[in-house]
């Protein structure tokens, strides 16, 4: 079941300097929301505070409310939260284990008893990886190409049926073909899960996202349907950014 993510008056600071400033917007259930913005504007910070990975950074403070499926994230059990809200990182980071173990990692950590081979198959299929890897399931995941590794990471987070998946520039380390495959897998997930994807690639945002949010210097400038943002943005900063006047 996909869940809505609502962000209300979120501020995040490192050592007292505000990096995300009073951001409020909503990511609708089952849709793809892209977050764009120049480097260092706080996209990663925003994303990491949704699944509370920000707590691993000692000097990071989060204020405000983040609601996943109507529940305040800051009041949830972090482990349960992260089972609901999966994450794919900028650099592919598979575990030094076999492909199968990588996919099943979350299931085993949660001690769920289900049919493992079914889950491996369906997760890999959704990540457009099943055909390539069907016969290599017991090989080490470190032997895969970078693109495959990244899709394996997608499959890995899909395996525990999250309601939301956060993707932090998932294609930044990939070549064009791998990027297309990744987008294909994003398309195949649509509707099953709420997707939040940070990207520097405008074309990619245009291709995959239903909604787009533009963040600049920690503030939300605009959040709207993707066609609207790209065709006719409300704010001049957004237009300038999309036209490449600054970065």
């Amino acid at each position: 079941m996909p869940a809505t993510v609502e962000i209300k008056h979120l501020s995040v600071s490192y050592n007292g300097t505000n990096v995300v400033k009073d951001v409020s917007f909503e990511m609708p259930a089952g849709k793809v929301t892209a977050i764009i913005g120049p480097s260092g504007c706080g996209k990663t910070t925003l994303l990491r505070s949704i699944n509370r990975l920000s707590e691993l950074t000692k000097n990071c403070r989060v204020q405000g409310e983040i609601m996943v499926d109507g529940e305040n994230v800051l009041k949830m059990d972090t482990v349960l939260l992260r089972r609901k809200v999966g994450m794919v990182f900028q650099q592919p980071n598979p575990f030094p284990k076999s492909i199968k173990e990588n996919v099943l990692y979350g299931i085993k950590a949660a001690k769920i008893k289900t049919d493992h081979s079914d889950i491996v198959k369906s997760s890999l299929q959704k990540a457009v990886l099943w055909e390539e890897l069907e016969h290599r399931l017991n090989e080490s995941a470190l032997n895969l190409s970078i693109g495959q590794q990244q899709r394996l990471c997608v499959a890995r987070s899909l395996a525990i049926t999250p309601e939301v998946i956060l993707m932090d520039e998932p294609a930044s380390a990939l070549d064009p073909v791998s990027t297309l495959k990744l987008e294909e897998s994003i398309q195949s997930m649509k509707g099953d899960v709420t997707l939040v994807i940070v990207t520097h690639n405008m074309q990619q945002a245009k291709r995959v996202a239903d909604y787009t949010a533009f963040i600049y210097r920690g503030e939300l400038i605009e959040c709207n349907e993707t066609e609207k943002i790209f065709a006719n943005p409300d704010r001049s900063e957004t237009r300038d950014y999309l036209e490449g006047k600054f970065s």
Binding site: L56, V79, L80, F89, F95, P96, A109, A110, N143
Partner: protein
Amino acid sequence: MRRSWPRALSFMLGIIPVLLLLLVIGVAVWFSSLTFYRVGWGELFSFYYQNYRQGGWWEFGLLPSIMGTLYVVLLALAISLPVSLAIAVYASEYASGAVGRVLRTILGTLAGIPPIIYGLTSFIFLGFFVSPSFTRVKTVVDLAAPPLHPILDQQKSAILGGIMLALMIIPFMAPLIDEAIRNVPARLKEASLALGAGKWHTIGHIILPHALPGIIGACALGCFKAMGDLIIVAFTCRSNGQLPQPWWDVSNLSPLTGTIGWLSGILYPALLGKNDLTLSVSYFSTLVLLGMALIVLGLATLLQRWFRKKYTA
């Protein structure tokens, strides 16, 4: 190749440890040469060790002592590894920054306690494992009036030795493991947490396997320290070099270092400079010990390499 004075100078200085190492091994071989033709290999690697001090008749089976070293070192590791792991995991994953720092500082300081201090105070721990003759007696050690002799021979036990050696090596092992844990890439840890694995699961399945080379290195270091220590062993283990009676009573074993101390006269000064053969056998025993250390070193290096290969692409 251009020759420059820094190169020449550092070469001359750098070669000194190599020469000293050769000197050490050379002296040990030179002094043990008597053993080679007065005591046969068959006798050296047998279980029969006898010394008749007055009669001057000796038999030098080293196997009981080798067994003793294995037992004491393994016991020391079995105690110190879990404790060091607990300390390292607690300091780097569970404790808040300040508590972790305090714990690290305490351990770093404890590393300065000399081995002989552990030996001298080992009587405190006698209460833990009273030796056979005291079994049924409640041992209450008077801390304010410690014995002025080393622990009585009947009270000594390899278990006590293992405990004291473990206490000695923990402050050296824990920081190494701690460092290995902190060097585990944050991205793997984050990936595991982001998949909904708890902290404990992440430690067991990601962090510790990845820190394994470091943990093995720490164990090897602990091994070397425990193996070569003579002074704690002298205070705590029976040093008669014989197979224990009954044979399975491992608390009665003497490690190789204890036998070396006995034969060379370190622990039995009456023998010092009197008997060339016992001295020679003690030099031979140090060579055996060195061989054991080399085996540990080789094994540790192999395992480390294997695990490194496994955990990096």
